[in-house]
C-alpha cells in the first residue's frame, strides 16, 4: 500500500490530494512506528536493577566468532572475485568481438561487499549492468564468455578450472572453494522494455539494481562493526528458524542498523542490548501489516522494507520472533543463537519448553488465508482461546 514503488516517475505526484481530485487519489497512509522500548525510555524509566547480560554478551561474541569466515575462505573468495572482476572489466572496456551483450558497469554487491559474509558460505555477488536488454541468450553468451576468459586466467596461474551455470538471476561461476554469483541487470531506463518471455524476470532485474543501491547505502551508513556483528548473528538465527527464514538479507541489514544506531544518543548500542531489541521489535510487530516498519532508504518514499514478505510469512516471522523472545528472556539464548543444538536440531521456536518451571509455548498463526479476513468466522475458537492457551 505504501510501497510507492509502482508510482515513481509517471508524472503522478507522490503526495495525495492533488487539488482534491474526486477519485483515485493515491493514498499515503502515514503509519505509526511500533513501540520501541529504547525510544520509549523516558516513559518507562528503569526501576529494577539492569539484568546481568554478561552471559548473553559472551554467547553472542562466541557465536559471532564461529560465524566469521576463516582467512582461507576469505582469500579464496577474494581470489575468484578479483579475477572475475578483471574479466568483466575487460568486457566493459574492450568487448572486442563479444557481441552477445554490451556491459555498462560491474559492481560488487551483497554480503561480500558489505563484509558480512558468513563462514561456510563462500558465495560473493557481482551485479553486471547490461547496456543491452538482458535476454536469456545474452546471459548465456556472457556466461560462456566469462567462463572461457576466466579459465584462461586460471590456467595462467595454474589454478583449477571454474564452471559456470546459468539460472534465472544470471549465472554462477563456481571454483573449487568459492563461487561468485553474477547477477544480471540492465540500465534503469530499460526496465520497462522488459518482456517476460524474452528477458529475465522484471522483479529479478530490479532486485539486482536494488542490490547496488543497498550496498551503496550500507557503505555509507552501516559500516559500524557492531552492525556487521549483529547482521551475522541475525542471519544465522533467521536461517535456523523456519519462521524467520523469509526475512531477506536486506531486511536484516536494515533491522540491525536500526537496532544498533537508532537510539536517542545516536551511539552504537552494546550488542546484547541490540540483539534483545531486534527480537523485541520483531515480536512487537515491526514487520506486521499496519506498522510503519522500517522505511526502505533505497526505494521511493513511504516504501517499507517488510512488504516484500507475504502476509502469512509476516505472521509467521512475528510469531517465531515472539516465541524466541520469550525463550531468550528465560535464558535460552544459547539455543536461539545456535551455540547449542536444541533436542537434536529441532526448531526451538516450534516446541514447548520449560525453563525453571516456566512453560514457554509457541504461538498459533493469526493469519488465515481466507478471502474475507474480516468476516464472521469461528471467532471464539481461535481468537480468544488461542490467547488463553498461549
Amino acid at each position: 500500500m505504501v510501497r510507492g514503488a509502482g508510482r515513481g516517475g509517471r508524472g503522478i505526484p507522490g503526495r495525495g490530494g492533488m487539488g482534491r481530485p474526486p477519485f483515485s487519489r493515491p493514498r499515503v497512509l502515514m503509519l505509526r512506528p511500533p513501540f520501541d522500548l529504547i525510544l520509549a525510555e523516558p516513559a518507562f524509566p528503569r526501576c529494577k536493577p539492569a539484568p546481568d547480560d554478561a552471559a548473553l554478551t559472551q554467547a553472542l561474541l562466541k557465536r559471532h566468532a564461529e560465524l566469521c569466515p576463516t582467512p582461507t575462505e576469505q582469500s579464496a573468495v577474494l581470489s575468484i572475485v578479483t579475477k572475475l572482476q578483471t574479466v568483466l572489466d575487460n568486457l566493459v572496456v574492450a568487448p572486442g568481438d563479444f557481441a552477445a551483450c554490451q556491459l555498462e558497469e560491474v559492481r560488487q554487491v551483497g554480503s561480500y561487499k558489505k563484509g558480512t559474509m558468513m563462514a561456510g558460505k563462500n558465495v560473493a555477488d557481482i551485479v553486471v549492468i547490461m547496456k543491452t536488454l538482458p535476454t536469456k541468450e545474452a546471459v548465456e553468451g556472457l556466461s560462456n564468455k566469462v567462463n572461457e576468459e576466466l579459465n584462461k586466467l586460471m590456467r595462467a596461474e595454474g589454478l583449477g578450472n571454474v564452471s559456470s551455470t546459468c539460472h534465472e538471476r544470471g549465472f554462477t561461476v563456481t571454483a573449487a572453494t568459492a563461487a561468485v554469483r553474477v547477477l544480471v541487470t540492465t540500465l534503469h531506463q530499460n526496465l520497462r522494455k522488459l518482456e517476460p518471455e524474452v528477458h529475465l524476470d522484471y522483479k529479478v532485474i530490479s532486485s539486482h539494481l536494488a542490490a547496488i543501491r543497498h550496498s551503496r547505502w550500507f557503505e555509507e551508513n552501516a559500516h559500524h562493526s557492531s552492525i556487521k556483528v549483529l547482521i551475522r548473528l541475525l542471519r544465522d538465527m533467521c536461517a535456523r528458524h523456519s519462521g524467520l527464514e523469509p526475512l531477506t538479507p536486506w531486511m536484516i541489514d536494515l533491522l540491525a542498523h536500526h537496532c544498533i544506531m537508532n537510539n536517542p544518543a545516536r551511539q552504537a548500542l552494546p550488542i546484547n542490548v541490540a540483539f534483545r531489541r531486534s527480537l523485541s521489535l520483531l515480536a512487537g510487530g515491526l514487520f506486521l501489516p499496519g506498522c510503519a516498519g522500517l522505511p526502505d532508504p533505497c526505494e521511493a518514499a513511504h516504501s517499507r522494507a517488510h512488504t516484500a514478505l507475504d502476509l502469512a510469512a509476516q505472521d509467521h516471522a512475528a510469531a517465531t520472533a515472539q516465541t524466541l523472545l520469550r525463550v531468550v528472556a528465560r535464558g535460552g539464548h544459547r539455543y536461539v543463537l545456535g551455540l547449542q543444538a536444541f533436542e537434536g536440531g529441532k526448531d526451538i521456536s516450534t516446541e514447548i519448553t520449560v525453563w525453571d518451571g516456566v512453560v514457554v509455548s509457541p504461538l498459533a498463526p493469526a493469519y488465515h488465508d481466507s478471502p474475507e479476513p474480516m468476516d464472521t468466522e469461528d471467532k471464539d475458537d481461535d481468537g480468544i482461546q488461542d490467547g488463553v492457551a498461549a
Binding site: 500500500m1 508524472g11 505526484p13 490530494g17 492533488m18 487539488g19 481530485p21 487519489r25 499515503v28 497512509l29 505509526r32 513501540f35 522500548l37 523516558p42 516513559a43 518507562f44 528503569r46 526501576c47 529494577k48 551483450c101 543491452t132 535476454t135 541468450e137 531506463q189 530499460n190 522494455k193 524474452v198 515480536a283 512487537g284 510487530g285 506486521l288 501489516p289 499496519g290 506498522c291 512488504t307 507475504d310 502476509l311 509476516q314 505472521d315 515472539q322 523472545l325 520469550r326 528472556a329 528465560r330 525453571d356 518451571g357 512453560v359 514457554v360 498459533a364 493469526a366 493469519y367 479476513p373 474480516m374 471467532k379 481461535d382 481468537g383 480468544i384 490467547g387 488463553v388 498461549a390
Partner: protein, 915 residues
C-alpha cells in the same frame, strides 16, 4: 521485305560467322523445303497457322510438347539458345526453317512496301553493316528500338534511358540475334494483324511468338503490334484495354512522374533513395541489396523480363549493385539464354561504358554496408530435419519463420528485425527511422502536452503543500481540544465523546463499539452517583457531629452555626465529592486551623488527638474506579477514603459505623426510598455502605500512617489502630486517583483503552494478574511514549506491541510507580509464569489485530464494513494515524470517511498478499 528479312538473318550469319554459315543456313532452308508444304497448306487460316507453326517448331526444336504460350515461349527460347550454342548451323537452320514457312503465303507486295521504309533507313543499314567493328551494337540497339517505335508504338514517348539499358543487356548476348528475333516477332504479329483481323493478338500470345521468327508479309505495318505501355511496363490484352490504360489515372500519374524525373535528372531519383537500389526494368526501388536480389528473383520482375524479352526490348540493368550484369541477367532471366552468351567481342567494350556508374553506386553501397550489419544471429534458431539439414529458421525476436537462408539473412538486416532487436535486446541500436511528417507532428504535440502537465502538477503541488500544512494545524488543534473534557468531569461522563472528524479505521470502529458496549448504562451511573453522594453527605454530617462533640464547651454554638451555614450555602459550596477532588469537611471558619493539618497530606504529625479546633474526620475523597472514571457495566463497588486527623482507630471506625445510618437518613431526600445498610469491616479498616445494588466502601486512613514507626507511639496504639497496610493502601489509592487525573486522563484514547483493558483483564485469566494500577501505568506510559495522539485502535495496538515486545518480562525495566518516592516496580510481585503467559497472549493479540481480527481480541462480532464512500475524499489530510480508528455509528457522518479507509486497508491486505 523478304529481302529485308533475309538480310537480317543473313547478315547476321554473314558478318559474324562468315559466308560458310550463311550458306549453311540456306542449306538449311532447302532442307526445310519439305516443311513449307505442310505449313503452307495449313496456313490458310490464322489459327491453323499458329498450330501449324507450333507443330513445325516442335519438330524443329524437338523439345516442345506444350502448347501453352508461356511455356512455348520459354522452351522455344531455351531450345533456340541451346541450338545456337551447340551449333551455329542448327540455329540458322532453324531460323531459315521458320522463314520459309512464313514466307510463301504472304502477300509479298504489301510486305515490301511497309517493311522497307522501316528498315531501309540509311542509318540502320549502315550500322548493321558496321557491326563487325564491335561498336555497332549499341547503335544497332537504338536503331532497332527506333524501328519498333515507328512500327508499333507510335503514341508512346520512348525515352532515351530505355535505349541505354539495352546496351547492357545486349552486350552480353547476341544483340543482333536479339533484334532479329524481336523483329521477327513483331513481324509475325503484324502479319497476324493484317491477315486475321482483330483476333491476331491472342493468337500471338498463344502461339508464343517470342521465339518464332515466323514471317508473313503484312499489309499494314503501322498496325498495333503489342499493347505494351512503356511507362508502366505492362502489356495490355488488347487495344481497347490499352487505350483505357493510357487514359487511366495510374498511367497518367506515372507518366508525369517520369517526366519530372527526366527533367530533374537522375538527382531526383537518387535523392529519393540514397542507399536504395533501383530496378530500372520494373521501376521499383529496393531498400537494399538483398531486397533488390529478392526482387530480381521475384515473379513480378520475371514477368517484366519475360515481357521485355518477348518484345525484344532491352533489359536494363543499371542497378547499382555489385553483381556483374551478366550474373544478374542470368539470375533474372535464365530462360532467355540467348542473351547469355558472353563470347562476343563487343562485351568488353560495351560494358566499359556503364562502369563508372557502377562504381559510384558501389561506393554508396559500401557506405551503407556497416549500417546493415545483420544483428541478432543468436536469436535465430535453426529447425533441422532428421538429416540435420536446416529446414527452416525461426526468429525468436520477431516470431517469424523462413525456409530460405537468404530470407533469413535479409530478415536479419531488415528494419523490422532491427526494431525488434532494438526493442528487446539492445536499446541503443540505431535503426533508421523515417518519421513521416505526421509522426513528427504527433511527437511534438506529445512533448507539448507533457510540458504543460508537468507545470500544472508542479503548481498544484505547491498549492497543496500549503493547504496541507494549514489543515494539519487546524486538525491538530481540533484533536487536542477533543480529549480533555471527558472522564474527569463527574467521574462518569460519556467517555467516548468527540472524536472529531478523524477518519476511522476498522480497528477504531471496533474498539469504540466495544467501548460503548462495556460502558456502564446511565441508570447504573445514576445509582452509583446517588449512593456515593449520600454517603459523602452523611460523612460530612457525621464529621460535623464529631467535631461538635470534640469541643462541646466553648465552640459548640459556633459549630452549630457553622453547620447551619453550610447547609444554607449548599447551592454555591461543594455538596459532595463529584469533582473527584478531596471533599473537605472543614468549614470556612475553621479553615485556618484545619487546613494546616488536614488537607495537606504530609500534615503535622503528633498533634494531640481531639485537640481543640481539629476535626477527627477531615475529608472524604473518591478513589479507584469511581475517581478515575473507569467504571464498567456491572461494576457495583466503589471506594471512598476518609482522611482522619490522626491514626484511625477501631473505636473511631465503630463510631462511624454506628452513626452513619442516622446521618444517611438525614441527608436522604424525603421521597428517596433507598435503604442504606452500613456494615463494619474492621479487618479492612472500612465500613461498607450498601443500598442493595451499590456498595460504597469507606476506608479510614490518615497521612500520619506514613510516618516512620515511632516506636512507643505505635506500640501504644497498636491494639486500637486500624491495620497499617490497609491504611497505606487507602492512601496510595488517593495518590493513584490524583496521578490518574493529572496524567493519564489527559492522554488521548488513554481512558478508553484502560477501560478496554479492564474488560480484557476481567475476561481473560491470563490477564487477571495484571493489577489495575500497573495496567494504568502501562497504558499511560505507552500512550505517552507515542510521538503523537493515537486513535483508539492504534492505541490498543500499541499497548499490545509493548507487551509483546517483552516490556514486562524479567529483563525489562519494570513499571515505575510515580506515586512512590522510592523506585518501586508496580508489577514487582508478578510471578514469572504469569508474565510469560501475559506476554504470549499479548503477542497473539497483536498479530490478530494486525491481521484484522481485532474483534477476536475484543470478543465481539466483527462490525460490518461501512458501505458508502461518498465524500471520503473531502478530508484529504496527512494521515498520521492511518489504519486504526473505529466507527462510532452515532457521530456526525464520520462513517462516510471510514469506508475509504476500509478500502485502503483491504487493498493493502490484497497487495500484501500479492507480494
Amino acid at each position: 521485305m523478304m529481302a529485308a528479312n533475309n538480310y537480317f538473318g543473313f547478315t547476321h550469319g554473314g558478318t559474324q560467322y562468315g559466308a560458310a554459315t550463311a550458306s549453311a543456313a540456306y542449306g538449311g532452308q532447302t532442307g526445310y523445303a519439305v516443311a513449307p508444304a505442310a505449313t503452307a497448306a495449313t496456313y490458310g487460316t490464322q489459327r491453323a497457322a499458329a498450330t501449324g507453326y507450333d507443330t513445325a517448331y516442335q519438330a524443329a526444336a524437338a523439345t516442345q510438347g506444350n502448347l501453352h504460350a508461356a511455356h512455348a515461349h520459354a522452351h522455344a527460347a531455351a531450345a533456340a539458345a541451346s541450338a545456337y550454342d551447340a551449333s551455329k548451323s542448327a540455329y540458322y537452320q532453324q531460323a531459315a526453317a521458320a522463314y520459309p514457312t512464313a514466307a510463301p503465303p504472304q502477300p509479298q507486295p504489301a510486305y515490301d512496301t511497309t517493311a522497307k521504309p522501316a528498315y531501309s533507313t540509311p542509318a540502320t543499314y549502315a550500322q548493321g553493316g558496321a557491326r563487325g567493328s564491335g561498336g555497332a551494337k549499341p547503335a544497332y540497339g537504338s536503331v532497332y528500338t527506333a524501328t519498333t517505335a515507328a512500327a508499333s508504338y507510335p503514341s508512346q514517348p520512348y525515352t532515351a534511358p530505355a535505349a541505354q539499358p539495352a546496351k547492357q543487356t545486349a552486350n552480353r548476348g547476341n544483340s543482333a540475334y536479339d533484334t532479329a528475333l524481336y523483329n521477327a516477332a513483331s513481324m509475325y504479329v503484324a502479319q497476324q494483324k493484317t491477315g486475321g483481323g482483330g483476333s491476331g493478338w491472342k493468337n500471338y500470345n498463344k502461339s508464343g511468338v517470342g521465339a518464332t521468327p515466323q514471317r508473313r508479309p503484312k499489309p499494314q505495318p503501322k498496325a498495333q503490334q503489342l499493347h505494351y505501355c512503356d511507362v508502366c511496363r505492362i502489356s495490355c490484352a488488347g487495344p481497347q484495354t490499352y487505350k483505357e490504360h493510357l487514359e487511366g489515372q495510374k498511367h497518367k500519374k506515372k507518366e508525369a512522374a517520369v517526366k519530372v524525373a527526366a527533367a530533374g535528372g537522375a538527382a531526383g531519383a537518387r535523392a529519393c533513395g540514397a542507399s536504395a537500389l533501383r530496378c530500372e526494368l520494373c521501376d521499383v526501388t529496393c531498400t537494399g541489396a538483398d531486397a533488390y536480389a529478392a526482387h530480381v528473383r521475384g515473379i513480378k520482375h520475371q514477368k517484366v523480363v519475360k515481357l521485355h524479352t518477348m518484345l525484344g526490348k532491352p533489359i536494363p540493368s543499371t542497378e547499382p549493385t555489385k553483381l556483374t550484369p551478366a550474373k544478374k541477367t542470368v539470375a533474372g532471366a535464365p530462360k532467355v539464354s540467348f542473351v547469355a552468351s558472353g563470347g562476343l567481342s563487343t562485351v568488353g567494350a560495351s560494358s566499359s561504358v556503364p562502369r563508372p556508374a557502377d562504381k559510384e553506386d558501389e561506393k554508396v553501397e559500401e557506405e551503407d554496408e556497416p549500417e546493415v550489419q545483420p544483428v541478432g544471429q543468436d536469436y535465430i534458431e535453426e529447425i533441422r530435419g532428421d538429416d540435420g539439414k536446416a529446414l527452416s529458421f525461426n526468429c525468436k525476436l520477431c516470431d517469424c519463420k523462413f525456409n530460405d537462408p537468404n530470407a533469413k539473412e535479409m530478415h536479419m538486416k531488415g528494419r523490422r528485425h532491427r526494431l525488434q532487436y532494438k526493442k528487446k535486446v539492445q536499446p541503443d541500436l540505431e535503426v533508421k527511422v523515417k518519421p513521416s511528417m505526421h509522426q513528427r507532428k504527433l511527437a511534438e504535440a506529445k512533448a507539448q502536452r507533457m510540458l504543460v502537465r508537468d507545470e500544472l502538477w508542479a503548481r498544484r503541488r505547491m498549492h497543496e503543500a500549503g493547504e496541507d500544512d494549514e489543515r494539519a494545524y487546524w486538525e491538530g488543534a481540533d484533536w487536542w481540544r477533543g480529549p480533555h473534557h471527558h472522564h474527569h468531569h463527574q467521574g462518569m461522563g460519556m467517555g467516548y465523546g468527540p472524536v472529531g472528524r478523524r477518519p476511522e479505521t476498522s480497528d477504531d470502529r471496533h474498539v469504540l463499539a466495544k467501548h460503548a458496549e462495556i460502558y456502564p448504562p446511565e441508570q447504573q451511573l445514576q445509582e452509583i452517583q446517588r449512593a456515593v453522594s449520600h454517603t459523602e453527605k452523611a460523612l460530612k454530617s457525621l464529621s460535623d457531629a464529631l467535631a461538635d462533640h470534640a469541643r462541646p464547651k466553648n465552640q459548640a454554638g459556633k459549630a452549630v452555626i457553622k453547620t447551619e451555614d453550610k447547609k444554607d450555602d449548599k447551592p454555591e459550596g461543594k455538596e459532595d465529592g463529584r469533582d473527584n477532588q478531596l471533599f473537605s469537611f472543614v468549614g470556612e471558619g475553621e479553615a485556618a486551623p484545619a487546613s494546616g493539618d488536614g488537607a495537606g497530606a504530609g500534615g503535622a504529625g503528633g498533634a494531640p488527638v481531639g485537640g481543640p479546633g481539629v476535626r477527627a474526620l477531615k475529608g472524604v475523597m473518591r478513589v479507584g474506579l469511581l475517581a478515575k472514571g473507569l467504571l464498567l457495566r456491572g461494576d457495583r463497588d466503589v471506594r471512598l477514603v476518609v482522611l482522619c486527623h490522626d491514626r484511625p482507630t477501631v473505636t473511631l471506625l465503630k463510631r462511624v459505623a454506628n452513626d452513619l445510618p442516622h446521618h444517611l437518613n438525614k441527608v436522604k431526600g424525603p421521597n428517596e426510598d433507598a435503604k442504606y445498610k452500613v456494615e463494619l469491616q474492621p479487618a479492612e479498616g472500612a465500613v461498607q455502605v450498601s443500598d442493595g445494588t451499590v456498595n460504597v466502601v469507606v476506608s479510614l486512613t490518615s497521612a500520619v500512617m506514613r510516618e516512620p514507626a515511632e516506636g512507643g507511639d505505635i506500640k501504644r496504639d497498636d491494639k486500637d489502630v486500624l491495620p497499617r497496610q490497609k491504611c497505606l493502601d487507602a492512601l496510595a489509592a488517593l495518590r493513584h486517583a490524583k496521578w490518574f487525573q493529572a496524567r493519564a486522563a489527559s492522554l488521548q484514547s488513554c481512558v478508553i483503552i484502560i477501560r478496554i483493558m479492564r474488560d480484557l483483564c476481567r475476561r481473560i485469566p491470563n490477564w487477571t494478574p495484571l493489577n489495575p494500577y500497573a495496567m494504568e501505568l502501562l497504558v499511560s506510559g505507552v500512550m505517552q511514549s507515542a510521538s503523537g495522539a493515537l486513535s483508539p485502535g492504534e492505541a490498543l495496538r500499541r499497548v499490545m506491541e509493548a507487551l509483546a515486545g517483552g516490556l514486562i518480562l524479567e529483563h525489562g525495566p519494570g513499571l515505575r510507580d510515580p506515586c512512590e518516592k522510592e523506585l518501586v516496580d508496580a508489577l514487582g510481585n508478578m510471578p514469572a509464569q504469569k508474565r510469560e503467559d501475559l506476554t504470549a497472549s499479548a503477542q497473539q493479540f497483536l498479530r490478530q489485530i494486525a491481521f484484522r481480527q481485532i474483534n477476536k481480541v475484543l470478543d465481539m462480532e466483527p462490525l460490518p464494513k461501512v458501505k458508502h464512500a461518498s465524500g471520503g475524499w473531502k478530508f484529504p489530510r496527512k494521515r498520521r494515524r492511518s489504519n486504526t480508528d473505529a466507527d462510532q455509528d452515532t457521530h456526525n457522518g464520520d462513517g462516510k470517511v471510514v469506508k475509504t479507509e476500509e478500502k485502503a486497508d483491504v487493498s493493502e491486505i490484497n497487495s500484501n498478499a500479492k507480494k
